[in-house]
Symmetry: C2
Amino acid sequence: MDVPGSIWMRPERPGRGPSPTYSREQITAAAIKIADEAGIAAVSMRRVAQDLGTGAMSLYRYVGSKDDLIALMLDHVEGEDPLPEVPAEDWRTELTRLAERGRAIMLRHPWSAMLIIGRPNFGPNTLHTMEYALTCLDGLGLSIDEMLNAVFSLVGHVRMFVQSEVAEAEETRRTGLTEDQWRITQHAYVKQIVEGGRYPLFARVITEATTPHLDMDQRFRDGLEHLLDGITAQIHRKESLRNSNG
Amino acid sequence: MDVPGSIWMRPERPGRGPSPTYSREQITAAAIKIADEAGIAAVSMRRVAQDLGTGAMSLYRYVGSKDDLIALMLDHVEGEDPLPEVPAEDWRTELTRLAERGRAIMLRHPWSAMLIIGRPNFGPNTLHTMEYALTCLDGLGLSIDEMLNAVFSLVGHVRMFVQSEVAEAEETRRTGLTEDQWRITQHAYVKQIVEGGRYPLFARVITEATTPHLDMDQRFRDGLEHLLDGITAQIHRKESLRNSNG
DNA sequence: CCTCCTCTGGGTACATCGTACGCAGAGAGG
DNA sequence: CCTCTCTGCGTACGATGTACCCAGAGGAGG
């Protein structure tokens, strides 16, 4: 109501008075449906209410603000794909899977990748995923801060990657121009840059665009490997440090 | 005008008629000033125009849309810090410097980190930085795609890191609640989670929050090291592959 | 059953946004 | 000097989130 994020503390609805017609779950689902079909920009309180067959202001009986609704949406999709109760494989395999799971969810709900959340989401599903990720890295000799930092880097990488992966489609919807159409509008300018000769490597990027570049899956996996290699290196560094000190 | 991003192709102003009172540079500077002082949300065409002492619609004689203005703003701050003409040190040192430069710029202009740009910005300053980054990785045995991917990961990491670094301040301004005040509103809920015992690692994150965590500079450097270690590993892999094949 | 009092759904209103459109007038090219 | 382009800018439209208000429904206590 008053404080953003307090959505998780507020009970769905106390007992007195007439029973509510709708539910948070129902409203969240309606909002997600709209976001999936028409983009996050189409999710307005009026639109969500309209799809539910009610008035905009009625929604405020269930959620404190639009931000709260979005927090509900994010936590809901985070819980879509099940997670093992406890990590079974080695940490690298588990984290890779977790990253791919995150990417899959975001690709399924592109809007979820495009939102920048200021403060951590303490929804139950988000909490569970976070705990799972930390569990994967537990017992490898990293401090809790280092573990958190590693998870943070990983989640950040996935989010950033999918963001750019998805930005194209969002831009197409927003401007009504497909990437190809847009490229045509830029062609003369880009050509001038390439032929100017001052940016030889940029020119190579453009020139070799005719032959197929690395596909998105490959690029995602490569970036992930970079990060995981880095974490491995950190673990090994701390390990040998421990061995030389003890 | 019609096409977003075409801002870089359009000449500042052709010759006929009366000479313009303002300039793109002037408008961009005014917009950046507002964004720095009051957040990106405060940058409205009306507000920018007001600060310049003119009407909102006058700005559209200089920029095609608000998106174009934002593209100008982003490219402008990208050019704030000078870049060497050509990389002088080893690639790792250079890329570290480049990352820190990027972080510094974004911290100086927090709004620039919070924007998600759908399609690449072809402004002169952005172009130059991109070329510079690619140059650092040239000649190490990576393909142009791999180089681009590495730069992409790096830029993404910096952006993602600063995003979360900056989100807090933005959230404080937006909601009027400092992080401490917000934490108080969440305290009962978080306490319940911690004491529930189902999230022992999350509990450790919270519990050990009294002792100082890693500071932001350290966390940034750690994440960067992860990525650079990963790129190093990729370079070595390709190198030994070449040696065994030739 | 009656009464009360909370909680319901939802209408109206307000400030703010980007920008389409049109117009009076200024000023440079012929 | 005439003409025609380009100027700054006022008005207007359709959005947005949400504060505020009100009539009435219906569970709780007598």
